[in-house]
Symmetry: C2
Subunit: 591 residues, 2 copies
């Protein structure tokens, strides 16, 4: 029987000796490595936090004492210790628990989290409510050094420091973001590590915190010592711990960016073998940027600390040199910075995930759109998907397309994407956002000669009658399937339209459809509310045109299989054609 077998809750942990906990750490590490290599997931962050998490549960009394994990991508050890170890030891249960904290799984999880830099604030709220209600207990926020680069973390810490009561921020410093860290503050973290926390110039003290430093955050006993010191503190306290990202898995310690999050089976492959060169939207984006640079264009690729997720691999970043900026996890800064870069005549391209651009609504409105700076935003991972609710990119159409001045484009294939990129980085009239197709990579072989400076011009791909299908971006192929099915089953030769522009309507085309169409259907991969289709419904509101909007209902979708999402929202050719049939029947009944 292993130690892990005996630990089913934090209570069990408290009976163990340091030696047993050290053994437990090894066992936990082993199951984490095996599970993550099977399912994919966050490897480095979790391996680094095993000892600290054991010490936290040993010293504190969760859930009376409350832990808030920033991003929560380092919560696997916490899940193992709080009744969910089966999700790591039993392959048949590998999918049972999410990769982030989730209160519906356990009373030991305070929040459903997946975005970065929020824990300091959330924890301050828990502490304030505790104080208002006259309750007791420690509130502990666990924040990685990478997450500190996000402004919300700074706001949270700045406010926490003024709380005047118990609050403990564990700064888990592994000298690494997802990729390497960027930003001036990392010089101070290095100084603090180099001086074992003794340097006078101290970011955390400057913010008003009491400060403790632990040089070996992977030592259970050192961690227990410091946490015992700060437990029940009556004032805001930072515990700055130095840990090793990927600790205990040599290849992860040596390849920290690659092993931040891994695909299934990564440990079973030769990670040094050259990756097969596959052409996809990432690769053609990179090729385009490098070509621009080689032509002398002052192009600037910008990533808010997620270069890997958008294909900006280390080799590409190295090739770009000063034409690349990693802003840290600072999307707000990234957008305002891009506005400045564009205003001064260089050519910024931010590549970012749909769910992360959410952090920049105000910067898109104020810094970018109001100033009409010709910066370019590439929105990746945009569309309905079976992911964590925190990461599904289903809100970017309502988010971006309703902001004045920003042109939001939805290419349907390589050729359109490249032409849009070329136009976007050559014009001076508008901020341009491109919804990079998510999922299949489509090459038509036909060059796109569209002049995108003629805004809001939809493309009629196939002219028909009676029914018009307006299919946005990565739902264009669904549109084609619907057209075929309408022909086959209802003998309707539908018109197929590729709108290309999500942020405005081609009213001339929409008007022309009135003469020989009865129904317009819109297809978009995202939530319907506030989106593209509703604008078309509104436009036709005073006419006889029937409009059917297809997209997703406004709700969070947490790890729902994509086919379920599609079935539920009538996003299959069958269900769409049925709805069209019903609509047409109603019309003929009424006539």
């Amino acid at each position: 029987m292993t130690i892990l077998d005996k630990v089913n809750s934090p209570k069990d942990l408290k009976k163990l000796s340091i030696g047993e906990m050290t053994e437990l750490a090894s066992e936990m590490r082993e199951v984490i490595i095996k599970k993550v290599n099977t399912t994919g997931g966050h490897m480095g962050p979790n391996l680094g936090m095993v000892e600290a998490t054991i010490a936290m549960h040993y010293v504190f009394n969760s859930p009376v004492d409350k832990f808030v994990f920033d991003v929560a991508h380092q919560c696997y050890p916490h899940k193992i210790l709080t009744g969910r170890k089966e999700g790591f030891t039993d392959p048949s249960k590998y999918g049972k628990y999410s990769g982030f904290t989730n209160p519906s799984e356990s009373e030991h999880d305070q929040f459903l989290i997946g975005h970065t830099s929020t824990a300091a604030s959330l924890a301050t709220g828990l502490a304030k409510a505790r104080d208002l209600k006259g309750e007791k207990g420690n509130v502990v926020a666990i924040i990685g050094d990478g997450s500190l680069s996000g402004g919300e973390a700074f706001e949270g810490l700045d406010n926490a420091a003024a709380l005047g009561s118990n609050y403990i921020a564990i700064i888990n410093d592994n000298d690494m973001c997802i990729a390497e860290n960027h930003g001036g503050m990392y010089g101070n973290l290095k100084l603090l590590r180099d001086t074992k926390g003794q340097a006078e110039c101290n970011l955390f003290k400057a913010l008003g915190f009491d400060y403790y430093y632990v040089d070996n955050g992977n030592s259970i006993s050192d961690m227990i010592d410091v946490l015992n010191k700060v437990k029940d503190t009556n004032h805001p306290t930072v515990v700055h711990i130095h840990t090793i990202k990927g600790k205990g898995l040599k290849v992860a310690e040596e390849n920290r960016e690659m092993f931040h999050w891994i695909m299934p089976g990564t440990l079973d492959r030769d990670i040094n073998a050259p990756m097969p060169k596959i052409e996809n939207y990432d690769s053609i984006t990179k090729d385009f940027i490098l070509k621009k640079k080689s032509e002398g264009c002052p192009i600037l690729a910008i990533s808010p600390a997620t270069p890997g997720a958008t294909g900006f691999d280390p080799e590409f970043r190295k090739s770009l040199g000063k034409n690349y900026t990693d802003t840290g996890i600072a999307e707000e800064h990234a957008v305002a910075y891009a506005s400045g870069v564009a205003k001064a005549g260089a050519r910024p391209i931010i590549s970012v995930l749909s769910s992360f651009i959410q952090r920049t609504y105000d910067q898109m409105v104020q810094d970018l759109a109001l100033n009409n700076s010709p910066a370019v935003l590439l929105i990746n991972w945009a569309g309905l998907a079976s992911g964590d609710a925190t990461h599904v990119g289903c809100f970017d159409i309502p988010l971006i397309s309703n902001i004045p001045n920003i042109v939001y484009l939805a290419p349907t294939c390589k050729e359109e994407y490249l032409k849009m990129l070329d136009w976007a980085t050559s014009q001076n009239d508008n901020p341009v956002s491109i919804r990079v197709p998510f999922g299949e990579y489509t090459v038509t072989g036909v060059e796109d000669n569209t002049d995108y400076s003629i805004l809001n011009k939809f493309k009629v791909e196939e002219q028909g009658r009676d029914v018009a299908i307006v299919a946005v971006g990565n739902f264009f192929s669904l549109g084609k399937q619907v057209k075929e099915k309408l022909q086959r089953e209802l003998n309707i030769n539908a018109t197929l339209i590729n709108p290309k522009f999500i942020s405005g309507l081609d009213t001339e085309l929409l008007d022309s459809l009135k003469s020989n169409h009865k129904v317009v259907i819109t297809l978009e991969s995202g939530i319907l509310d506030g989106g593209f289709g509703q604008k078309i419904a509104s436009y036709y509101g005073n006419s006889d045109m029937k409009v059917l909007n297809f997209g997703a209902k406004k709700e969070f979708m947490d790890r729902i299989p994509l086919n379920e999402i599609y079935e539920k929202n009538h996003l299959t050719p069958e269900l769409i054609v049925n709805d069209v049939k019903t609509c047409l029947n109603t019309i003929s009944c009424n006539v």
Copy 2:
């Protein structure tokens, strides 16, 4: 002839002696005081920056050297020195220039700005483009100590510090936000002021900046000395200057919060005379919160550093004590903090302006909605208005109403507002946002007994036929006028609906309208795109109901008179009734 008469551009300034510049400062101060007291505007921030701005234009060479003013509410001296003094000396030109920087006014203005904490990022962008293009010149960001509390400022400074080339951040420290400062970092600013910049623990050095301190930032010669030292620096540098907010106007120096922004004629009134107690939405909000507190409810009022704008005056804040949090200008933190407070069982109410809540889209989605924390957001200054484009609250409906789980309510009168407040702060099921009516204060005298836990239940105020008017929140009175006009001119007894809920539809009611209505019109005070009316158009897309959506076109509105906005967007009873008439004529032609 005054010195000011002779200064028409920065070039003229460079010929002056220190003595003449000191005289110029007095003259500038005089015209600023007179103008601001006539038109209203930012008083304290501008009076504090007169000397620093003179020194900046004396030492640097704008617009080759570029100034980026954070918030830009302190740019009046800059405007006076850059060819726009007529806007301050000639009462007939008082309205000619905006209260913020605006590139369309002058080449000396880099950006149209009005939101806080963005200058560090925008300036970093200018500097990066300069470096990429191989150009020269200083880039100078001017940032108030209050603005430092916004996370974007931290992100910007953190990135600026890593730029590796010329960048100068002038930190204008007057020990004041709009109200007093809140946050741990202000202890460090005080330490730096107290030690004349000598303290080892230094927030700016911790971020990686070279650092200079000026104890008297209102001394032209001291400012010239330090700026000469840092001019053409080859690395990121902070110049921390201590200035007096409201400098040179005794009453403003002594009443710094009150004189941050003043109404016209403030100097001509007895500011110590008790304010007449007027009942309005602000006052009943305060009374409600105080009553909750007195009943023992763990209520927490939260302001992101704009208490005055939402009526949270010093007396109210004092009465609340620990039941009040000013987060600094940290809207993101405020929302996440409120989520934490609500999760732990206390009752947070954030009161914020519509245009400032824009900074929290991601926090509303992730921290609040996804966690379904029952926090309350009061959205003030929401609706079409004749303001600066940066401050018009016309985006909050698309912003908030398309987020799952958040209930967005639009009261039309005192009674509804109070009932909604009461419900919102008593329930545990959803985050609730309330669009506080902007403009007229309506009291019906009829208690509202609605059970708001029955979501998305619209209220039929008057049952009619043929035409239904769905009038949201502060456009309800417009809806009433339209109803009356329809009766009078077209003899139509229209149905008048007060939807109350902006974030969802009463589909039962909408279905029932089909039996005896031909047209539904929607009225909302905000941009139409992504808003409320388009959802209704979409819902009726497959039916014969005609839908006319009334609201504003998607565009920025910068100081446009409200009647022009209304005329242009058909938001007057006349134009709406005309559009209804046209629509009805089309229907009868087709039948």
